[in-house]
């Protein structure tokens, strides 16, 4: 209202700037850029996957992906999202103790998520499922990609070295001398080196033996025969799959670690008795970030594990 003697603004009727607190605005702005970041990654995966011929993209069991582990991770993240929002609700009411307890539970959830991820990654590494380390592009008749014979021969050499190491020190690989696995390794090695009457088998033939089948039953036979030998598998488009998988889940895990740092800061503040009800905004913004991490995983889980 303008008074006659001078100008008297009533502050609350004059809104300059954004209608939300600055900190919240900044957090949303940051999250929007992160949405674009993850869209780039997920979009790349989508495009590359849609670009492979129908049916050729590796199935989950071929790349040792267990859907139930992803489902448990989804549950863990959703539960931790729930606890952090309760923590913010608690501190807004003034209940700091309960808030700290809930933040601690959220931190535990995040650590559990990373632990399950670590188990999954270890399983992949043990099966040689890493970008650039999977046997690929071994078929000279496949006209879709330029065939490089040296690349295919390098794959056969790698398998040969692995088999030679198994035959020389079976104990190092957990295989006993007279077992089925040892005999399989020995005969495989003979086929690769070739004998007087049989020429060495081609890289494609090596790959076809080490190819985890799409059919579940054939896959079980493959696992029984070659499972313990841990040789480099042949998975068409497997390197592309591994690249996109590790990029997406790796960056997501990095974001989870960032969230855990925020929780530790809050817990340390609480341990020193410095967490007060006026710090509710801090809880809200931490919660916003953590929910964003959860939403990204909600999309990553079906894209990578299910569809």
């Amino acid at each position: 209202m303008l008074m006659a003697a001078g100008v008297h603004f009533e502050q609350k009727y004059l809104q300059r700037g954004a209608l939300v607190p600055t900190a919240k605005l900044a957090m949303w702005l940051f999250m929007v850029t992160e949405i674009m970041f993850f869209t780039g990654l997920i979009g790349t995966h989508t495009l590359l996957r849609m670009g492979t011929p129908a049916g050729d993209w590796p199935k989950p069991h071929q790349v040792h992906l267990k859907e139930w582990m992803g489902a448990v991770n989804t549950f863990v993240l959703i539960a931790s999202s729930f606890t952090i929002v309760l923590a913010h609700s608690a501190i807004a009411r003034g209940d700091t103790k309960r808030c700290l307890l809930l933040v601690g539970i959220t931190l535990f959830g995040g650590v559990l998520f990373l632990g399950i991820k670590a188990v999954e990654y270890t399983a992949k590494f043990q099966h040689h499922i890493m970008p650039g380390r999977i046997g690929d592009n071994l078929d000279p008749r496949d006209g879709r990609a330029p065939y490089d014979p040296n690349y295919a021969l390098a794959y056969r050499d790698e398998v040969q070295h692995q088999l030679e190491d198994i035959v020389k020190n079976p104990a190092k690989h957990g295989i006993s001398e007279g077992s089925e696995d040892f005999k399989t390794a020995q005969s495989f090695l003979d086929d690769i080196k070739g004998t007087a009457d049989k020429p060495p088998i081609s890289p494609l033939e090596v790959g076809l033996r080490l190819h985890p089948a799409e059919d579940e039953k054939k896959f079980e036979e493959y696992e029984k025969k070659y499972g313990n030998l841990h040789l480099t598998p042949y998975i068409p488009y497997g390197n592309l799959w591994a690249s996109t998988y590790f990029t997406m889940t790796g960056f997501h895990a990095a974001h989870v670690i960032g969230g855990l740092v925020l929780f530790v800061i809050i817990l340390l503040k609480g341990a020193r008795g410095n967490l007060l009800p006026r710090h509710a905004m801090m809880l809200e913004l931490t919660g916003l970030y953590w929910h964003f991490v959860d939403v990204v995983w909600i999309f990553l889980f079906p894209i990578l594990y299910l569809i």
Binding site: L19, V20, T22, T39, G43, G143, M281, H291, I298
Partner: protein, 120 residues
């Protein structure tokens, strides 16, 4: 300009509470949303396990639809967007349009080009 959120007086918390939440989401609502999220996670997993190969397109639709719905629930309730949307939509809507557009724009070069034949 003095931002009510950052006043250090004893009514700081109250000011925070009153300033941007005239309404406020109750713990019970959060619990209900959590329940929905758990149910739909289980439904997604079940759709993946139990739908036969022939209905893969249906599984795709169900799983994708549920994922979008779950993300919406988290954003609207856990992220308080149901209260703050009017103030924040100018940030969010353009990005939501831009994000799928980036994928669509690259579709002819990366996805459709495979159909033209072997690379030179």
């Amino acid at each position: 300009m003095s931002d009510p959120v950052h006043t250090d007086d004893a009514h700081g918390a109250h000011a925070v509470h009153a300033e941007h939440h005239d309404a406020h989401i109750s713990d019970k609502t959060f619990l209900r949303v959590f329940g929905f999220l758990l149910f739909f996670t289980a439904a997604t997993f079940a759709a993946n396990q139990f739908l036969p190969e022939k209905l893969k397109w249906l599984a795709f639709l169900i799983i994708g639809g549920i994922a979008i719905f779950k993300a919406t629930l988290v954003v609207v309730y856990f992220m308080h967007l149901v209260l703050d949307y009017k103030k924040l939509f100018l940030f969010i809507v353009p990005v939501m349009i831009l994000a799928p557009l980036i994928v669509i724009v690259l579709w002819p070069d990366i996805v459709l080009a495979w159909r033209l034949g072997p690379m030179p």
